[in-house]
Structure formats: C-alpha cells, structure tokens
Symmetry: C2
Amino acid sequence: MRQMTIGQLSKAGGVKVTTIRYYESIGLMGEPDRSESGQRLYGDDAVHRLSFIRHARDLGFPMNAVRELMKLQTEPGSDCSAVDVIAREHLNDVRKRLSQLEALESELKRMISSCEGGEVGECRVMAALNDHSDCIAETHERVTAL
Amino acid sequence: MRQMTIGQLSKAGGVKVTTIRYYESIGLMGEPDRSESGQRLYGDDAVHRLSFIRHARDLGFPMNAVRELMKLQTEPGSDCSAVDVIAREHLNDVRKRLSQLEALESELKRMISSCEGGEVGECRVMAALNDHSDCIAETHERVTAL
DNA sequence: CCTACAGTCTACAGCGACTGTAGGGGCAAG
DNA sequence: CTTGCCCCTACAGTCGCTGTAGACTGTAGG
C-alpha cells in the first residue's frame, strides 16, 4: 500500500477524516498528492505526522504548542530546551486546572451532602447558589478550558 | 439608587458588561427597562439573578444547567431532588475531568523528567510524542472541556 | 452494464461561552 | 464646548473541531 486514501489514513492514525481535512486547512498537515479525480493520497510519512499530532493532542497540548513542537522536530539539531519549555508550560497549565477542579469538587461535594431533600425553598444547593458569601469557589477566576 | 445602568450592575454582580448583554441575548437575564435614550436600567432583583448565574458558573455548571436551576428556583415548591440530580451530574463530570487531568499530569511529569537536555533528536519528550506505544494517555478519549 | 452503497469532495454553519471590534450616541464635569 | 467615559448595536473571532448540504467517485454484486 504505497498511497492511501484519507479514510485509510484516518484508520491508521486514529483521527477522523474531517479532522484530517481540518488539520490540512490550518496548515498542520500539508497538502497531499491528489488522484486524477482529486482525492487525497497519502504516504506513510503522513501516518507519522498524524500520530504525532494526535499524541500531542491526547496529552492536552493546544494547537499552537503542537505547531511549535512540529516545527522544532523538523529542525534537527535545535535545542531540546525549547521542547522542555513548551512541555513545562503545559504541565503548569494542567496543574492549575487540576487545583481549580479540586476546589470545585470539594465545594460541590459539600453543597450536595448538606442538602437533605425537601422543597427547593429549603434546598442547601440553591441556598449556596443564592448566597453571596459562603462560597469557596469565589475565586473570580473562572474555570476555563481542558 | 432605584435603577442602575449596566455598568453599575456589572460592578455589583462581578460580571462584565458585555457578558450581561450576552446573557440577555440568550434569554438568561430577561429584557430590562430602558431609559429614554435606550440605555438599560436594572433594579436590585437583577443583581440577585446575576449573582446566581455567576455563582453557578463559578462552580462550573454549564449554561444549560444554569438555565434549569433558574427555572427550578422560580417554581417554588418544586422538589429539591431535581436540583440534586443536576448538581450530582455536574460533580460526576468534574470528577471525570479530574481523573483525566491527573493521568495527563503524571504522563507529562514522567516525560519531562526523563529528558536530560541535548538536541531534539535525542529528546525524550519528542520521543514520547513520536512513539506509538509507551503512552499512558492513550485513552482515545480526548480531554475536553473545563 | 446497471445499481447500490460507501467513500470522497467543497464550502460553510454551528457548538459553548464568551471576547473583541467598528462605528456610532449619551452624559456629566471642567 | 470639549474631553473622556459610558452606553448602544451588530457582527466577527476565539478553540478545536463537528455537522450539514449537495455533488462526485470507486467498488462490489447481479
């Protein structure tokens, strides 16, 4: 199998067809050869690039980071520290979100466990949502992405 | 201060002016009175509604859930268990994301700590991204939102 | 050969929850 | 009157895709 279609690449790389086309449209995948009728044809290198992207995405790297990592990879001899910086930044990000989510979890748990049924009027969960004070999650930093 | 402008409401509720207008546009805030010149004018009840929304959002509830919670609140006498269900679902969601992020964190940590500098060619981080096996985060469930 | 059906193509709209921009009008103080 | 901030509408952009519409292609069976 020298050249494969986008569907075959999709299976080989574990990425949906539409997503591959999307990656191409944002310049992550590069334009492939085309058959006479205009269908995309990929070689084995495409599978590598695709898995690289998927691995990075699975690890939660944002697209920009993936882009940079790919650039670094194609510049052989470039310093590993650049990669390290990107990875560490991402790790920081992940840890930040982790602690936000942990705070959220304990707050939700507390709210739910303090509620003993009955009508909404006496519901502790509702009370917590209505009450202006008494809120641990009052960080003013909204929990955002990932 | 019987009636306040959107800017004053914004400060009172800790929500940006644009966001308040957005909430209005999606039907969460209801259309306020207007001054002769067309400026929005809010009463104290608006502050309550806005803080309710903000608290729910701070706790990570998605908009749909916020909408339902608000509906439940305005039906006095409705059963608290509906609130409970929404909150528990959200808690489950939070816990799911927590465990995904935890997996991510340890994977990233492992990757970074195994890298000892040098060129990209020998970089462990890059190796991990290139290698098809050897990947804990290979869950095929991408880490998504929040 | 014909038909069915799966796969592929382009182009564009939609998701969530906002944020930013452009281009204007209003309002109080100096 | 002018400065400067606030307010208005309407729409585009963010991120990372996913879904839709409508047309074409490739393949397997009859």
